[in-house]
Amino acid sequence: MGKYFEEISQNVITAKQDKVKELTQQAIDDGVDPVEIINSGFIPGMNVVGIRFKAGDMFVPEVLMSARAMAAGMDLVKPLLLGREVPSRGKVVLGTVKGDLHDIGKNLVGMMLESAGYTVINLGVDVPATKFLQAVKDSKPDILGMSALLTTTMLGMKDVIELLKEEGVREQVKVIIGGAPISKEFADKIGADGYAPDAGSTTELCHNLIAR
């Protein structure tokens, strides 16, 4: 049965979507445990992708294509889990803060996190503080990520953190922020748990925060 895993991993790395589907189906037909397909096939493949991306050998579009290939396999596996949870590194809620309509950077973060095995809930743009609060209460994410491109809107991040404190849920979630004007100093000042300078390093930031 182990023979499938290596091949599935390789085809996830090379983003051969059809091949991933074909091999996943064969493994299922052979009676391989669906959770094992994820843990020993998909995830090791995406781990290699993460390493190569960090080394500069793979580019962002390639990472996303690999993630897409994995997702195609995942679609076949998911219905067979019968109530068991899809293995996930963690849950992340993302959004661009109120008054700010920029979303390419935030979406890229979302795609990179998904490709690294996170479950991502994307709240979109122009998200008011109350909506972030509601999502933290309802979805119970491990991480809340906020994005802003404008120096005028970035201050809204502080409002969200203050609201989480007032409602007593600040301690149940790690807060990370990003966007062109954001710095480590700003993150520290408003009491965020982390900051990443670009989409690619967000994954590592989340790994570290969750491991703590």
Partner: protein, 481 residues
């Protein structure tokens, strides 16, 4: 994507009628002023071929029809080979290649940063570095080995180059005996006289003096190379305002006469032999009359000369990418980029001096080769320009993604992401925080690190050991390591 040989020609500082005006003016200079030739053999060769020679005044004059008839015998395409065929350069048309130049006397030491006299080991190390840098397409021997006696320089410089890169090796030469030894050595490496003529892995440079002079030493060396029939560049280096007219147009008129002279001599003695129309148009700083290798005007003149060479249908040896700066810095960056860009966009074929040289050609710096590799990569990308096809217009993709979507994970992005853009390796494109974390280093330091890394790891395909043994027995003064 950054292999050499991409077609240039989009920058044309001269109109067609201006090209003809320059040509006609040069022909008048040839006919009325002529060249002063300080070599009796060359004077006789010109006279026997029908030029108007005044032996007393050592003056050679010629008519347009006589000149153009001989020029028509020169090949319009010259292939300079590397030990590895993938590094061959097919010169002619508007195809662009960029490479190193010489001959500098100093090196900025990679470790200490100190300027010191260059030695033979620097020829080896720069060759090895260039072998690993893909946007440097050929290796003109860059430095003079101060640790050798003059009679041993030619053969050891060429061997140091040939044994440390599989790219084409061209060099200036110092003695007749040296020229012959270098040719014999290259024949042994290639497996015989004809094999070398068929795949010339070496070529030579012998100079013409501005204004309008062929001197005794260089002309004698030139004839030695012509007799061997190996590819030859015969560059004049007029300095506008000092050794040629102050106007750029006037400098090109005179340069054209000088450049054609070397080519004429070669084609009379050895019709059809591989020769390059060779040009090193330069300027002086009018404030001091100091020589300039990298003024923007040099770039403009190289572009104009490229148009002239294309008019004559001759492969061009051009000059760009040097700097007056004493160190690799901001100045070296913009001077190199501006002159290389202008020459390349004009479709100059063999752009030499475009790697490593600083201090007006008197010094080289190891890290500068890495920086110039990057400049050359950008230059070649600019030469390539943009492709407009049904596919690149991307109508389907725009429809597919639609308003508010993104193209990051689209199939077309994936398909083109490695070929549509030049990817620098020195330039820092990271956010501030990442740059800070990586030590806040500038481009020069990054380039130093890359140069050190290449020199520590890269070993070019060697010359066969049995061949080296043969060479050692044939040439006792050969230094093999």
């Amino acid at each position: 994507m950054n292999k050499g040989g991409i077609e240039g020609g989009s920058y044309q500082p001269l109109t067609q009628s201006e090209i003809r005006m320059l040509h006609k003016a040069s022909m008048k200079v040839f006919e009325e002023v002529g060249m002063e030739v300080h070599d009796k053999r060359a004077l006789e060769i010109f006279a026997n071929a029908g030029a108007d020679v005044d032996f007393g005044a050592k003056r050679v004059r010629a008519s347009e029809s006589w000149i153009m008839n001989i020029v028509s015998k020169a090949p319009s395409e010259v292939t300079l080979c590397g030990r590895d065929e993938k590094n061959d350069l097919v010169l002619g048309g508007k195809r662009v290649y960029l490479g190193t130049g010489g001959t500098a006397l100093n090196v900025l030491d990679l470790e200490s940063g100190q300027r010191r006299p260059s030695v033979l080991a620097d020829v080896r190390n720069t060759a090895r570095l260039v072998d690993a840098l893909e946007n440097i397409h050929f290796f003109v021997l860059p430095v003079y080995p101060s640790d050798l006696q003059k009679q041993n320089v030619d053969v050891n410089r060429f061997f140091a180059g040939l044994s440390n890169t599989t790219k084409h090796v061209m060099g200036g030469v110092y003695t007749k005996e040296g020229v012959r030894k270098v040719v014999r050595m290259a024949e042994t490496i290639m497996g015989g006289r004809e094999a070398l003529r068929k795949r010339p892995i070496i070529s030579m440079i012998t100079n013409i003096m501005s204004p309008l002079k062929m001197d005794a030493t260089y002309t004698d060396l030139m004839l030695t190379v012509i007799e061997e029939g190996l590819p030859l560049a015969t560059p004049p280096a007029p300095i506008a305002g000092a050794t040629s007219p102050v106007t750029l147009a006037g400098t090109i008129v005179q340069l054209n006469v000088e450049a054609l002279s070397g080519l004429l001599l070669a084609q009379i003695v050895n019709p059809g032999m591989p020769t390059l129309y060779s040009a090193v148009p330069t300027t002086a700083d009018m404030r001091t009359m100091g020589f300039l290798f990298s003024a923007v005007e040099n770039g403009i003149m190289n572009a104009a000369v490229a148009q002239l060479a294309q008019y004559y249908n001759l492969p061009l040896y051009a000059t760009a990418g040097v700097s007056e700066s004493k160190i690799p810095d901001v100045q070296s960056g913009y001077e190199k980029m501006s002159t290389s860009m202008l020459a390349a966009l004009a479709g100059a074929n063999y752009i030499h001096d475009a790697a490593g040289l600083i201090e007006s050609g008197l010094s080289v710096a190891y890290e500068q080769y890495v920086l110039d590799d990057e400049i050359n990569g950008m230059v070649l990308r600019a030469v390539r320009g943009l492709e407009v096809t049904e596919e690149t217009l991307s109508l389907d993709v725009i429809k597919r993604v639609g308003p508010g979507g993104n193209y990051v994970a689209d199939d077309q992005t994936y398909q083109y992401m490695r070929t549509e853009f030049f990817l620098p390796r020195v330039a820092d494109r990271s956010p501030y925080a990442v740059w800070e974390k990586n030590g806040m280093i500038d481009g020069r330091e990054k380039a130093r690190q890359i140069a050190r890394d290449i020199l520590a790891k890269h070993s070019p395909a060697p010359v066969d050991w049995a061949v080296i043994e043969t060479l050692k027995s044939e040439i006792p003064e050969l230094i093999t390591e």
